[in-house]
Symmetry: C2
Subunit: 370 residues, 2 copies
Amino acid sequence: MVDNYARRQWDHELGAQTLTPIRPMTQRLNTWRELAGKEIAMHVGDVTDHDFLASVISETRPEAVVHFAEQRSAPYSMIDRKHAVSTQVNNVVGTLNLLFALQEFAPDCHLVKLGTMGEYGTPNIDIEEGYITIEHNGRKDHLPFPKQPGSFYHLSKVHDSHNIAFACRIWGLRATDLHQGVVYGTLTDETALDEALINRFDYDEVFGTVLNRFCVQAAVQHPLTVYGKGGQTRGYIDIRDTVRCIELACLNPAGRGECRVFNQFTEQFTVLQLAHMVQSVAKNMGLSVAIDHLPDPRVELEEHYYNAKHSRLADLGLKPHLLSDSLLDSLLNISVQYRDRIDQSLFMPQVNWRRHRNERKQSSPVAATV
Amino acid sequence: MVDNYARRQWDHELGAQTLTPIRPMTQRLNTWRELAGKEIAMHVGDVTDHDFLASVISETRPEAVVHFAEQRSAPYSMIDRKHAVSTQVNNVVGTLNLLFALQEFAPDCHLVKLGTMGEYGTPNIDIEEGYITIEHNGRKDHLPFPKQPGSFYHLSKVHDSHNIAFACRIWGLRATDLHQGVVYGTLTDETALDEALINRFDYDEVFGTVLNRFCVQAAVQHPLTVYGKGGQTRGYIDIRDTVRCIELACLNPAGRGECRVFNQFTEQFTVLQLAHMVQSVAKNMGLSVAIDHLPDPRVELEEHYYNAKHSRLADLGLKPHLLSDSLLDSLLNISVQYRDRIDQSLFMPQVNWRRHRNERKQSSPVAATV
């Protein structure tokens, strides 16, 4: 494992923290070693530091690299110019460094890269998995699916995708680009073994994903914050399926020179559908929550066609955990369990896509009274 | 005008120089003022320095910005990791800085950006101008044309194109992305007024474009260096038409929120066709030159379909200077005129796409004996 703890640093910057009390990495690794009897080697450093990354790759000569080492928040990238530039430089340079390190020290290694469904945007045609066969003026070709990303962060992923496809083509590297949907949930079988292994559960307006945020809002009976009409449709995936997809990709590597794209989600929902589902489950738990429609801080279609294919991971054996009342129950229960840590000042959007500079009001890192 | 003189610095790094003796910028500007009676304001600085660029934009509040401030050589970007990273960071960050500066200080300004036909690669369907209408499973959308760039440099242009389209969409900026073909020639009516105004004429393997290189090779009766079979087809344009296209774009600005793409070339040729044309014209001038097929240092198709549309600039009034024997005559004459400056050690490719690191043998900056 390689980490530079940037994610924890961004919490400090934003005055935010995960709902779940995440432990120091050394403690998590120790607990995992005690419970599972397995050692995870830790390399502390930054993938934008090529000397560091190359030394890790040359020492470990990995069979597969799972590359999640990127700034992953769209609103973070839209705060201002510095955040846009730092997101794109961090993500693009880290990935370039990894491609060069693989080519030099582990050219047979399988790169499993975290992309995003957000690379596609919301076209008015079906979204295929990475590539589309286009017939045009009597001729035909199988080409990269056109990308219409919706933030400087999503753009950085599109840049990565193009760079990775090129490296596979010229050097014969092998890669799987996982175009992941919105992840919800926090527990996997492994992390459930001990609270010291708990995952992050982000609900703030910058790093939180929408279903997590709705559950936390419901736990404190705060109105669910739907952006605009709420007709924005996206693909969603349970965190347990995310982990399984990575495993399936690693067990079934791409061929040399191949750059595969898997659309990694299991169900499509509109934001408003999710809000209604959370509202309904919360009601059964005695929590009465309203739904608020806020002006959409993003520039996006609030109603649109959306039909994205996602059969390739199922073909490899993915058995999805679909979003059901019982799962929503457990998400809400986690939110209630840690409600003392909820900071309601983190709920409302403070980053507006239409502005080139957003002054985020620093909230207190201390939990607000609920 | 904004310049950081990076292009001259790269000559020092590569041990190369332009065929034509380019003068210091201050001298060129002085000569232009004397001859044309017009002052070009000079701002020396780097567009990756946002404070500098923002101060220029806020002081000048331009109606249009013609953005050529990028590393423009594919082989340069393929030398090694450092050159790949520096090319992408330089080009992406410079363009992001410009987009933010325009949004803050000149949101109505028309951005005229130099892209490249190389963004498209060589698909097996007709290449449209930036966008393509795709019918798929009974639905239809007008989407960005799929991009398959062929070097880390070309990739940087694709990254720029996506970033610019996004900025137009969210902020209502106006942009024209000129997807330019391979430029040949050096003289325009303006630069022909005085030798002190002369343009660069690059013929080296890193920054030289193919037709320029063939003319210089013919002038010293060096075999023309065709990479592979020479069936690589590209769009080409006379430097006088390049300048006219920029003028036409500026005179006919994009609308607010619009990101237009113009394919900026006038004719398609294969590399081998160009070699034969140069060989034939050289023969008439008493120069006997052979054609050598070298192993292609690039990863590209050596024979392929290629049909790229280029009607939008013609619709605006472009009257192309087509490549004729008389133009080739004049290109060859320039090459003969400056033959004492030709360094033959710069002819042979030293950057191989298949290697992650290329050790370029520094040639002497002093002209070789011919």
